[in-house]
């Protein structure tokens, strides 16, 4: 199976959300999160199977390209080969925390990803999505400790983290992709 429908759908969502994500990022970073993600996703859609997350990394560039790319690699592998999603996302989360030197509570993508990994059961993404959304919303009250947002006023307190928003979109899109596959089979 190909991960192409997932990346097409993700690209559509980020096209719609790009300005919103850039606006969120402008409050805590350099205001390009939506554009950067969309640039990577456009290349991922154009790339061949098994090369999509890597194409995302190359095109979005920077450290965020690598960190979100490591998450997309696991999703792509699951959709391509049926590799277990729970252990894949768990490994990606561990690596993102390690490389980015972040943990839960630092106001980052990990605040959405870590609780999602915790809540994920083999075949049920909805609990993971709810946990990710709650984690995303929790970033509003948090003060950033890593990345550019640590240098903005009050560490970005009062603003939601755009990376956490993106993680929720990834998971929602993944659930939709899996559901439409099941529908096509029945």
């Amino acid at each position: 199976m190909s991960a192409e429908p997932f990346f097409i759908s993700l690209q559509q969502k980020f096209t719609a959300q790009m300005v919103h994500l850039n606006t969120l990022d402008a409050a805590v970073g350099d205001g390009d999160h939506g554009s950067t993600m969309l640039r990577g996703l456009s290349k991922a859609v154009a790339a061949g199977d098994t090369r999509r997350a890597k194409a995302f990394m190359r095109a979005s560039g920077g450290a965020s390209g690598t960190l979100f790319g490591l998450l997309l690699i696991e999703i792509e592998r699951h959709l391509d080969t049926g590799a277990a999603l729970d252990s894949g996302l768990s490994a990606a989360c561990t690596r993102i925390c390690d490389l980015g030197e972040v943990k839960v509570g630092d106001k980052s993508m990990v605040d959405a990803l870590a609780p999602a990994v915790e809540a994920l059961t083999a075949d049920n993404l909805s609990a993971a999505i709810s946990a990710a959304a709650a984690g995303r919303d929790s970033t509003r009250a948090l003060v950033a400790r890593r990345g550019r947002s640590q240098y903005v006023e009050d560490g970005g307190k009062g603003h939601i983290d755009p990376g956490a928003v993106s993680v929720v979109i990834f998971l929602e899109t993944l659930a939709e992709t899996i559901a439409s596959r099941a529908e096509a089979r029945s």
Partner: protein, 343 residues
């Protein structure tokens, strides 16, 4: 500022076209044109550990100029002043990896560390035997008790050369890694900037500095360091820098140090040789012999004016490896020759 480029989009590849066509020791990678690989006297990667590094471009000749026999097997070339992406570094690792294993050297800067270590994780997932060796030597970036937070600077060239020569001898991946860590512990670097480089992307100076001031400890992209000092005689500046280097990592009286005097792009050989003279004299005051120097502009930031002094207090093994022959486009011949101070 006038710069001689075609377009921003093609400047890196235009440079690489020139590089691989000018030097017999190198070629472009088979799977990725942004990977420069060794093309002379290549040994099987099943027998020899391969060494590679990724870095942003704009700092030439480092690191592509050190690809060849006795130093690096590959260099992964990013965009101007931008760390190469993890998948690009992965392509570089895949290009040179074999049964003997590989070591990815990483000059410690945030983007290089995240992308380099991410690439190593992805390579390991694919069954490739590769490990990462972070390199750091800039004493102005963190105090000795937080050595691991320091950034990579020109002293990392000691590690390239020492590991490269040792890999050529057929030493194992674990031996090389331990040797690299041991060398890293013995290296200190401090830089002094006098004028900014101009970004080829923006055409603008990368920082500003008054005419009568020198910035001590500034990083290669203009990152802050120790602070500003007034311009005075070069002998005083060098003495102050050596004081700081020896305070950070003392070398015993009667000892020796290999020295790198690295120009940042806009400082002349005339000045660099003067700096070497002063370095040698200041070390002699503490009865430390300055030996086997490497002098020239190797880690540059366009036409940035300034230099760095790097010292390593080498073991006999490290000294022999530092002076071992190599054949790359840009690494100079290092000789162990020790001259009396009066000559």
């Amino acid at each position: 500022m006038k710069k001689l480029f075609n377009t921003a989009e093609t400047m890196v590849d235009d440079m690489l076209d020139g590089f691989v066509s000018a030097y017999p020791q190198v070629k472009r990678g088979v799977n990725d044109s942004r990977v420069i690989v060794r093309d002379s006297n290549v040994k099987s990667a099943d027998d020899k550990v391969t060494l590679l590094i990724g870095n942003g471009s704009g700092h030439e000749p480092i690191a592509m100029g050190f690809v060849g026999q006795g130093i690096l097997d590959a260099n992964v070339v990013g965009d101007v002043f931008a760390a190469p992406s993890a998948d690009l570094i992965l392509d570089g690792i895949a290009e040179v990896s074999g049964a003997a294993g590989s070591i990815l050297l990483i000059s410690q800067h945030s983007g290089d560390m995240i992308n380099g270590r991410g690439a190593v994780m992805m390579a390991q997932d694919e069954g490739i035997n590769v490990i990462a060796l972070p390199m750091y030597d800039d004493i102005s970036a963190a105090p000795p008790e937080r050595k691991k937070d320091r950034r990579g600077a020109a002293g990392t060239m000691f590690i390239y050369k020492i590991l490269g020569a040792a890999a050529e001898q057929g030493r194992s991946q674990s031996e090389l890694f331990a040797l690299g860590e041991s060398a890293r512990d013995r290296i200190v670097t401090l830089a002094a900037a006098v004028s900014p480089g101009v970004s080829p992307l923006t055409g603008l100076p990368m920082f500003t500095l008054p005419d009568d001031e020198i910035f001590l400890g500034m990083g290669v992209h203009g990152e802050p360091g120790v602070g500003r000092v007034k311009v005075g005689p070069v002998s005083e500046l060098v003495a102050e820098m050596i004081d700081k280097l020896l305070a950070d990592r003392p070398i015993a009286s009667g000892g020796r140090a290999c020295v790198i005097i690295n120009g940042m792009g806009g400082t002349t050989m005339m000045e660099l040789l003067t700096i070497w003279t002063e370095t040698r004299a200041r070390l002699a005051k503490d009865c430390i012999r300055a030996i086997a120097p490497m002098i020239g502009s190797f880690v540059t930031t366009q036409e940035m004016g300034g230099f760095s002094i790097s010292l390593i207090d080498p073991t006999d093994d490290m000294l022999a490896l530092w002076c071992a022959p190599s054949d790359t486009p840009s690494f100079p011949k290092i000789t162990q020759l020790e001259k009396a101070l009066s000559s």
